[in-house]
Amino acid sequence: MVNEKWLEKIPADGPFYLFQGCFINHNYPGIEAATRFILDKLGVRYFVSEDQSCCGLPEFSTLANPLMLTCLVGRNMDVVKEYAPYILTPCNGCYSAFHTSFTLMKDPEVAARTEEILGKLGRKYSPVKVIHFADFVYKRLEDIVVKTVKILGGLKMAAHYGCHYFVFEEEGLDSRENPSFAEKIIEKLGGEPVNYTAKDECCGFGMIQQVVHKNMAYAITEEKINSILDAGAEAVLVICPYCLNVLDKNQKVLRDIELIEKAIPVIHISQLVALVLGADPDRMGFEMHSVDVKPFLDRVEARKVEFKGWSSAEVAASPK
């Protein structure tokens, strides 16, 4: 069930600081291109700066260093303040870095040391509201649908939200047990959302397991992909570049050793939305995907009838 209260608090018009995650910037630039395309289409202003650093989550999730996370987050937020009141990120990792830092700062010792270190830089720890790009898409869904020039011709899509989208300290747009907003997005864009058993499970990345215990990571990706294939999906929708990387690249290995019957394209929400808004498929960075996305692209069709706006019944029934 979509949390109306959470949705209300998402700023629809920005302006945003578009947080530059290392993984997107250096490995999946297609996600960045798609995100910028969508913001431009919707006329939303955004800023970036080279004074920003990595979000800090890798240093917490690998070397379990809490101060590295709180100091990097605190410093980045202080930089962002010069540009915009909100941070926007299309990455679950960056998104959860901020929220994990807010949790860690409840520990007086961590908080005091963080303030002390940031003080040496002439900076302060003061929280900025962080918006996940998927939440933003849902918030602006009606405007997006009105502007679409293409449509998912009934494509069966399975949504994978990713563990770090769900923020436990606060509520979030949806609950982990049975989230539904990405399915609504698929439906409104002309696709057919597919429910599958392993929906709320990890992609297999496991923060360090993809590097440290690879066999465990592959086993979990295998479960996930097989559950998706069993449900008859033709493509997977993700909202995080790491989930994209793991679900996509691990399939190559799983196919080679025949643990999955076929490979299925994995698409980031920004790529999907940009495409239906008319972005050039050649500029979505699909070069970096290992599973061929052509079967997916073939199902993105030009709208045959021009969209004439919502009927009043549809407006009443649509997500708010």
Binding site: Q20, C22, N25, H26, N27, P29, G30, E32, A33, E50, D51, Q52, S53, C54, P58, E59, F60, S61, T62, L63, A64, N65, P66, L67, M68, C71, L72, R75, V79, T103, L104, K106, D107, V110, I117, K120, L121, C163, H164, F166, F168, R176, E177, D200, E201, C202, G204, F205, G206, M207, I208, Q209, V211, V212, H213, M216, A219, I220, R283, E287
Partner: protein, 199 residues
Amino acid sequence: MDRVSVLLANKWKWSLLDEAKRWGVQRIEECLSCGACVGSCPAARTSSYNFRKIIRDVMLGNEEKVLSSREIWYCFYCFYCTSKCPSMVEIPYFIMRLRRMAMERGYGGGILRVLALTSSNLLKHGVSVLPSDYDKMNPTGAEEAMVKLRKKLGLPPVMKVSEKALGELKTIFEETGFEGEVGKLLSGKGYFKEVSEKY
């Protein structure tokens, strides 16, 4: 102290529990040992990992056994357990806390050395992931390819953290002890013992 507190204090090793509960890790002692976490846990399905055992050993004060073992390095940090736990025990934060305690006592060797590679990127460039991480055979080629791809997509060149920011980061690396830790890990000298495979 009331009777219940006295009984509990005699039963469990609070000092270890308290240390493990820093960083705002909540509700560890409220574990009911119901098994919901283990039943939903990807690490439990794919390894010998069993969170109930770990929690018990911490409460019993079996410090060395827990901190020296590979067990605490199996968690996926996926929070699936937290969404199932009736007592809302924050297991993944707790595991991170145990990993930090293990490092402070000089455990974690081989695992940490692999992980420190990402950290060395951060020390040098202010970012954790570089294009070259995915093409180790040809790091310059990988960066050039990424610059080309970003150009094709109409994006600015790859993100370079400014000199000013790198200077500030340097202070953070020193003050948090991060730089020293990564240096030790990458030096190849035996600062950190290998994890124990027995549990």
